[in-house]
């Protein structure tokens, strides 16, 4: 693995290695000194063609905890928007000896384009591209789900997958890179996925995806999923005839107080509610749901740093053949300067 572009490229072994490594990174995060020397002297560039403070901060924290040098390159509002091309930007970063480029781009496929070009040698990490994929989000979601699943079983998450788990992904699947990355990764890890959305917000071609599709959220909630992942509804969808009004959307596909109450009344199952953030409270998710004990939203943010540390570590400290090595145990014992 030289790049992380999509969860479709991740084998089960790769995915579990990343999640296990992230568990080790999480352990570091609980120590008093949260820093590892693993990537000292390496340069990680956050190349953001689209604003996302939360994703950038998460990658920045991850890189810094591994002692990497971090350069933030907000391509929006810089020379790039004045016509400097992705190619020129990439060559500039190459000249600056970037070891990894974390790229967020409004255009689907931009990270893959960068990785397959001869413009730059660095490892490319997709931090969200258009409506294509957001693989580290899916990995942190899987990390969160795996901990939940293991806790229910009374085991430790290390080495395990999500076999037997049922996950509902609810909302604007058509435009969601989070939904796509999650679907492929959840399938690889053995989970069962149901997509819940208005028919207008599902892609033509969804029938060839390895999941079930249901237009009725209540029906899916009654089936007792182990996790419900709510997707963010983007503002620009609201006036493009995908649905009649945000109120109607919210009534049919929002996780509101009534649905939370129904879920609680049904008892038994410890269904968790997830959201990749930022939330539109009162639209796709109610405040009561977002703040309930079922919500994993803050845990997801926390886990994001551990997962991104694992990805950076595995991509940058693997041997030159590009094979990620097992994380050498001594590194975790070493006392950072």
């Amino acid at each position: 693995m030289k790049h992380l572009l999509s969860t479709t490229d991740l084998s089960r072994g790769d995915a579990i290695l990343i999640l296990d490594t992230a568990e080790e990174m999480a352990a570091v995060g609980e120590r008093e000194v949260k820093k590892l020397p693993a990537l000292r002297g390496r340069t990680v560039v956050n190349l953001f063609f689209e604003d996302s403070t939360r994703t950038r901060i998460s990658f920045e924290a991850a890189a810094k905890r591994l002692s990497a040098d971090v350069i933030n390159f907000a391509a929006k509002g810089s020379s790039v928007s004045k016509g400097e091309s992705l190619k020129d930007t990439a060559q500039t970063l190459e000249a600056m000896s970037a070891d990894a480029v974390v790229i967020r781009h409004w255009a689907s496929g931009a990270p893959a384009r960068l990785a397959s070009s001869d413009w730059i040698d660095a490892a490319v990490i997709n931090a969200g591209d258009g409506t294509h994929e957001h693989p580290t989000q899916a990995l942190l979601d899987a990390f969160t789900l795996r901990r939940h699943w293991a806790a229910l079983a009374g085991t430790s998450p290390g080495g395990s997958d999500l076999r037997g788990m049922s996950v509902a992904i609810v909302g604007d699947v058509l435009h969601s890179r989070v939904a796509r990355s999650n679907l492929w990764l959840l399938k690889t890890l053995g989970a069962d996925v149901t997509l819940v959305a208005p028919p207008t917000l599902l892609p033509v071609g969804v029938d060839s995806w390895p999941c079930r599709v249901n237009y009725n959220l209540d029906e899916v909630l009654q089936s007792g999923p182990d996790a419900v992942m709510m997707l963010r509804l983007q503002g620009e969808r609201m006036n493009a005839a995908f649905f009649p009004s945000t109120r109607e959307y919210s009534r049919r596909w929002g996780f509101d107080d009534a649905r939370l109450a129904t879920l609680d009344a049904a008892g038994g199952r410890s269904t968790v509610i997830m959201h990749p953030g930022p939330m539109n409270r009162g639209l796709e998710i109610s405040s009561a749901a977002a703040d309930s004990p079922r919500s994993t939203i803050l845990a997801q943010v926390r886990n994001g740093v551990s997962v991104r540390m694992a990805v950076l570590y595995l991509l940058l400290s693997g041997d030159s053949s590009g094979e990620p090595g097992r994380i050498p145990t001594p590194i975790l014992q070493e006392n950072p300067a």
Binding site: S85, W106, D129, G205
Partner: protein
């Protein structure tokens, strides 16, 4: 004293063999063992003699985008590809929507001298789809325009389309429609289907093409006009055209070489060389297009040769320009996908790449049989050759060939344009001698 050529022992499209004596721009004689004093002999043993290819759909980019292509470079590419006539699409800058611009393009073609350049006139002023361009003035100009198209854009207003179809009857013109419903394709990046769903690229539904074709064949029927459908790309479009022809509607249709071979699976590479309008479709569509070309539902192959400067393709998919080069690969791609698959023979090839295209475009002197007295527009092909496509070695300025690296059959050995070899031994020779007599601005 005129220059004479004897093409010795060429195979004809019907499988027979003959010598062709070429002089004064014409085929003077055909038969066995011809001889003529002072004639240059071309040994055509193992070669096929075909009528010079006629492209109804070429983007030569001049005037305005000379960084992408010029009439000179585009027509060199055409000659090397076996063409003796090309139709230059109207989406230049300025748009070819006046007699002045079409005459300029016509003159540039005459002066280049590699092939006959037939300008296409825009249907609407500035391709804006709002009011008719001066179609009659373009028809009456020195360029004698007969094909009108807003190609690149669809004449989507049904009333305007109806009027255009009616109006061009006055001078036996044809409207060549780029069938793309604009509202259904806003922001579209690739064929809408299984691949676009996974890649998260805005889909370009087949229905956006099919609904316009359905509307236009009904309009053509209603007003009794002639309609040509550019670059048909879906199985559904084929069905509609087949239905229309069955009803006696006067519609003709074209398919590009790339739509006969490539599918949207290639977009997984994110390489914008595969970005084109209409988009690459599915394997089922490719099969339907091949069958339609073989059975005559689709009349002709049109290259939609669309060169772009490399910076327009060296970028993100969404930022990249749409279009592919095609003049120098058309023959080989059609041989590969239609002849080597057994769907067509070389006589069919001559029909779909030459005679039928000349009929649709009303190009006299092109697409004629290789017979005594006919104009000497001839392509000599080595069907047994195999070659690997290398865009860097092409005559077109465009490096955006989707066939780069592919090994393809069939090579153009020589092209005779009005009796003069523009291509010999597979390489450019010289332009037609009359070229020097033409000024670009007269």
């Amino acid at each position: 004293m005129s220059v004479k050529y004897i093409i010795k022992d060429a195979a004809m499209a019907d499988g027979s063999h003959a010598d062709l004596l070429v002089a004064d721009g014409r085929i003077m004689e055909t038969g066995a063992s011809l001889s003529a004093a002072g004639a240059t002999i071309l040994d055509a043993d193992g070669l096929l003699a075909l009528p010079g290819m006629v492209d109804l759909h070429t983007h030569l980019r001049e005037p305005g985008r000379e960084d992408a292509e010029t009439v000179e470079t585009g027509t060199r590419a055409a000659a090397l590809g076996g063409f003796t006539a090309v139709h230059a699409m109207a989406n230049s800058m300025p748009v070819a929507d006046t007699a002045g611009v079409v005459e300029q393009v016509f003159s540039l073609g005459r002066r280049a001298g590699w092939v006959e350049v037939r300008p296409v006139g825009a249907v609407t002023v500035g391709l804006a789809g709002e009011r008719l361009a001066e179609l009659g003035a373009m028809a009456d100009s020195r360029a004698q325009v007969r094909v009108f198209s807003d190609d690149g854009l669809c004449v989507h207003d049904p009333v305007l389309m109806r009027r255009a179809l009616e109006y061009v009857k006055a001078f036996d013109g044809v409207v060549a429609q780029h069938a793309q419903e604009p509202r259904l394709t806003a922001g579209a990046q690739m064929n809408e289907g299984a691949v676009s769903a996974v890649l998260g690229l805005t889909g370009w539904p087949a229905v956006a093409e099919e609904s316009i074709i359905a509307r236009d064949v009904l309009l053509a029927q209603h007003v009794g006009s002639r309609l040509h459908v550019c670059h048909v790309s879906t199985a559904g479009s084929v069905e509609i055209i087949r239905w229309a022809k069955g009803r006696g509607i006067n519609v003709t249709a074209e398919v590009t070489p790339h739509h006969l071979l490539l599918t949207d699976d290639l977009v997984h590479s994110w390489n914008p060389v595969y970005k084109v309008n209409p988009p690459l479709r599915t394997a089922e569509d490719v099969t339907a297009l091949r069958e339609a070309l073989a059975d005559g539902t689709i009349d002709i192959v049109g290259t939609d040769h669309a060169p772009h400067p490399s910076e327009h393709k060296e970028c993100e998919w969404a930022q990249a320009a749409m279009g592919m080069t095609g003049l120098e690969t058309a023959l080989s791609v059609v041989q590969h996908s239609m002849i080597e698959t057994g769907l067509m023979n070389w006589a069919d090839f001559a029909r779909v790449t030459s005679s039928r295209a000349a009929e649709i475009g009303r190009v006299g002197g092109q697409g004629r049989p290789l017979a005594a007295g006919e104009p000497a527009n001839i392509t000599l092909v080595d069907p047994a050759a195999r070659w690997t496509v290398a865009p860097d070695k092409m005559a077109t300025k465009g490096r955006n060939s989707p066939f780069a690296g592919l090994e393809l059959p069939g090579a153009v050995q020589a092209t005779f344009f009005r009796g003069h070899p523009t291509v010999l031994d597979g390489m450019l020779n010289t332009p037609h001698p009359s070229a020097v007599e033409d000024s670009a601005w007269m």
